[in-house]
Symmetry: C2
Subunit: 222 residues, 2 copies
């Protein structure tokens, strides 16, 4: 580790020599603000599972595709197995009212325990969708499993799903398609255990070479 | 579109029938809070390039691996080509002081224009690292290109790099490895154009089945 006046610097060797938990905390936090979400699934016998993930990633808008990085040696393996078995899963945003329950789903409950029961959240179903939603969430998304890509470099798995249903508060949807996550009370996270609310600075106009981006306003849907 | 009292709901068909820009804005925003970062690269002739990305993803901590989703039909293609040519790139966090310049790097500048010059940010070099950092950034990370995975489903590309250098404010690093991004003034973003600051709610302890997660405090490094 090198220290300039107010700066600390680390090489790859420094990082590889970090104590394991320090390194996990450090590298996860550098990954920066994420959106923690609750992934709802069930197995072939309709036993429900709920797990917090912070590895959601936008893959594309047309068709609407969402990626999720899954670590197979963790509690996340139940979620992955259910997705592969039923091809159905839900993404549920987390609000300050339920963030402690959401975090608690990361405990290593036994396969026959449902995290819904254990942490006190309510499964909610919609006709035609196998996986359970979280009733207490404001933004709820259902996905169909599309593809699984093995990242051989470290054994993690990229799961890609196609959005087939979205429910969100009317008060969060703008006329241009923008979704105001502050209005929806969605929280953000950093690293493995830190949770945040957000304050909007501004929206900026589409950038063009010949003029600086402007602050823009948009209106809610009617 | 269905409306319950305060909720709007969309099916896949609804989403596929959205106007193109509405859909892009909607699906990107549902992807939720991201961390916009500036990716610094140069070509084989040392011509610099700087581009804003919001698709950074944590792949693993040991070794420290970071993923980036790249859309090859966009201004991002210059960044991708430079990464493939030089194997070197930097990730630079964005603060409120530079978010407008950062956003402006998404304009379609010609290949012979450097976004550093065009938007008014300063390239900074470190011995042994080819790609330029952004001097004005508080958290700066250098990576070596490791692997490129083509996501054939929609033509996007997952670029994986290994962290080989990190510089961050001393006032943001905690004794357990946690990095306080609020202290580092890193901003978050939603969708394609909305920028946010964050407020910490809490950190929560490692979750165990037999006891509820507790709020935790940690101290800065000495």
């Amino acid at each position: 580790m090198q220290q300039a006046t107010n700066t600390v610097q680390f090489s790859l060797d420094d990082i590889l020599n970090f104590e394991t938990r320090f390194r996990a905390s450090f590298i996860n936090a550098l990954g920066a603000y994420k959106t923690p979400v609750l992934i709802g699934t069930c197995d072939s016998y309709k036993n429900t599972n709920l797990a917090i993930f912070n590895s959601q990633i936008h893959i594309g808008a047309n068709p609407p595709l969402v990626g999720l990085i899954v670590r197979p040696d963790s509690v996340e393996r139940h979620t992955l197995q259910n997705i592969l078995d039923t091809k159905s899963y839900t993404i549920n945003h987390i609000t300050p009212a339920i963030y402690k329950q959401a975090h608690q789903t990361s405990a290593r409950y036994a396969k026959n325990q449902s995290e819904f029961n254990e942490v006190g959240l309510t499964p909610e179903y919609k006709e035609g969708i196998i996986a359970p939603f979280v009733k207490e969430s404001t933004i709820k998304i259902a996905l169909d499993f599309v593809e699984k890509i093995d990242l051989t470099i470290n054994g993690t798995i990229l799961v890609i799903g196609k959005v087939n249903f979205v429910s969100l508060p009317k008060s969060s949807l703008h006329q241009d398609g923008f979704v105001d996550l502050v209005a929806a009370e969605s929280i953000a996270s950093v690293g493995l255990d830190a949770y945040y609310t957000a304050n909007n600075i501004n929206r900026l106009s589409y950038a063009k070479p010949d003029k600086p981006a402007q602050e823009i306003n948009s209106n809610l849907i009617d």
